[in-house]
């Protein structure tokens, strides 16, 4: 089964609304990263997390290693937030494993 499971697989939001994406891990993740793949296909770093919480503008992410999950909260969604969001877990030996992604579409 999936070692890094993301939910939901797809999401539609209206501009200005809030939402949360989630990753559940069936592996022992030591760190978590979140990426955005924009409509042009480029992968952009959003967060790198040890257990804890980080915030950057309208984005906030939490990594709970004891309960094996991470969340990405998007506040006041904008059109440019559209794309596919990936979480990735680092396990022992510097192996980084990705989830299948959440496709987000923000509409006016």
């Amino acid at each position: 089964g999936d070692k890094v499971k993301q939910s939901p697989s797809a999401l539609s939001l209206q501009e200005g609304t809030n939402s949360a994406l989630r990753c559940n891990f069936s592996i022992a993740a030591t760190t978590v990263q979140w990426f955005l793949q924009n409509p042009r296909g480029s992968l952009i770093n959003l967060f790198y997390l040890v257990p804890g919480t980080k915030e950057n503008g309208r984005l906030k992410s939490t990594f709970n290693s004891k309960e094996s999950y991470s969340t990405l909260h998007i506040r006041d969604a904008q059109l440019e937030d559209s794309g596919t969001y990936f979480c990735a877990a680092e396990t022992g030996g510097y192996k980084v494993v990705f989830g299948s992604g959440t496709r987000l579409l923000v509409s006016p």
Partner: protein, 115 residues
């Protein structure tokens, strides 16, 4: 500017053909990775390396070889390409793990079509 450069950008080959995908990073990073991206699967790790001459097996290694010739260069080899290997391939690099922020950097991808 630090970067990860992949070549070629696009490649078409026939079944049974021999293909080499190249990745060069100028980040002075130790770790390099090859992923394939397919609809419904996200990015799946093929091979990775933590230095010149080192190779680690990822989650979907079958049909792929890789070689890290220098700290900068990481190659992915398909010696008998099959249509199931049609995909978008990404290379990435990262540096020390003792950091506050991620320095994980992706290339722009290579789109491979095996006919």
């Amino acid at each position: 500017e630090a970067a990860v450069t992949q070549s070629p950008r696009n490649k078409v080959t026939v079944t049974g053909g021999n293909v080499t995908l190249s990745c060069r990073q100028t980040n002075s990073h130790n770790y390099m990775y090859w992923y394939r991206q397919d609809t419904g699967h996200g990015l799946r790790l093929i091979h990775y390396s933590y230095g010149a001459g080192n190779l680690q097996i990822g989650d979907v290694p079958d049909g792929y070889k890789a070689t890290r010739t220098t700290q900068e260069d990481f190659f992915l080899l398909l010696e008998l390409a099959s249509p199931s290997q049609t995909s978008l391939y990404f290379c990435a690099s990262s540096g020390s793990r003792d950091r506050e922020n991620s320095d994980y950097t992706f290339g722009s991808g290579t789109r491979l079509l095996v006919i």
